[in-house]
Symmetry: C2
Subunit: 214 residues, 2 copies
């Protein structure tokens, strides 16, 4: 059975998104800066249907994550791209366009039941009975591969509190956001113990892979 891996980028001051997320800026004000390390990479561009891209250690890391992942779990806001009344619209295609970059089953946490959304290469399944259930569904879909809990911060926090996360792949971008949504803000501090499994140095971001000891 695969592992449950949470993966997220945070700023040096701990934010996974800036303040005031909108459809135009789903990661909040300044939140785009968090992912500057990823945008140029081949492994980022390829699933987005973009040609070329940089290779190297950062790309290897991202490629390995993509390769190991059999199914994805995400929160409702990550699916819908920021807050807004439209996000519960059963006809909305989410924020990811007609050809989402996942190319594997995605399980979306929501309070509003809706039919699966089948798009080119990616099916979004909506799970209304909690993160544990979404991870179970994702495990079944992933078979021997890993389940990626892709965000946002609240979903990952929830997973750590419920001891559902085996590993945390953290990307620390060398920027400050000053406000927004912080990773770990909802985590009971006594709960998870972390062990550093691997660190990748890069000018773009510091990639720290933690094992979460349960």
């Amino acid at each position: 059975m695969g592992k449950v891996v949470a993966e997220i980028t945070i700023s040096l001051d701990g934010f996974a998104a800036g303040p005031n997320p909108t459809l135009e800026e789903p990661l909040g004000q300044g939140g785009d800066k968090l992912h500057e390390w990823a945008y140029p990479l081949k492994s980022f561009r390829e699933p987005h249907g973009l040609p070329g891209g940089e290779t190297g250690p950062d790309d290897d890391l991202l490629a390995e994550s993509v390769r190991a992942t059999g199914a994805v779990v995400m929160g409702r806001r990550m699916f819908s791209g920021g807050a807004g009344p439209w996000e519960d619209d059963a006809n909305a295609n989410g924020w990811w366009g007609d050809e989402p970059p996942f190319h594997k089953p995605v399980f979306v946490l929501t309070h509003h039941a809706r039919k699966p959304l089948v798009l080119e290469g990616t099916t979004f399944t909506f799970v209304t009975d909690g993160l544990g259930s979404a991870i179970d569904d994702a495990r079944a879909a992933a078979a021997e591969q890993d389940v990626l809990v892709a965000g946002g911060a609240e979903t990952i926090d929830q997973g750590m509190n419920a001891r559902l996360v085996d590993e945390l792949q953290l990307h620390i971008a060398p920027v400050l956001l000053g406000s927004g949504t912080r990773l770990f803000d909802g985590v009971t501090p006594e709960l998870p113990r972390f062990e550093v499994a691997q660190v990748l140095e890069s000018p773009l971001a510091t990639h720290i892979h933690y094992r979460v000891v349960k």
Copy 2:
């Protein structure tokens, strides 16, 4: 002329100290966990007058910081070890005992003028006209060596806001504190730009050395 290097350990959730600092727990509740990476090291034990200790990459890093530092700047609370009415007592020897581990000139930011405190190997000089002035004094004392801004978080934040810090040596301990004093909380996010200079992987902490671009 040497550089101005801020050095501090933070938790994975960004705290440089836990809540409710006292004389017994100057780093606040749980704050001691932050520095578990350092306590066993030879370079930590030696200036504290303790024999033995571990060597290896973490120790090399700490030894190099000690070697490069010509003078130290710290905030009043770091000198006095937690909050309390006694901390402005002109007779108090601070928190560091009769043989402080610095063995170089230390400049303490305070609002209360007092004479220098000369202890075995370390002289504490009290500076009442601000961080810039304390750093100037430390520069003069350090000659060609670096000035270490040793903390706490508020003092380092103040230094980054005033563009007085050239480099930030961050130690990220794999623990959560949940509350306390956060590094970067007082920093204007647009101000400092960080470049990753060096990363040292270790099971105990992740050591990231940033250049602060002014």
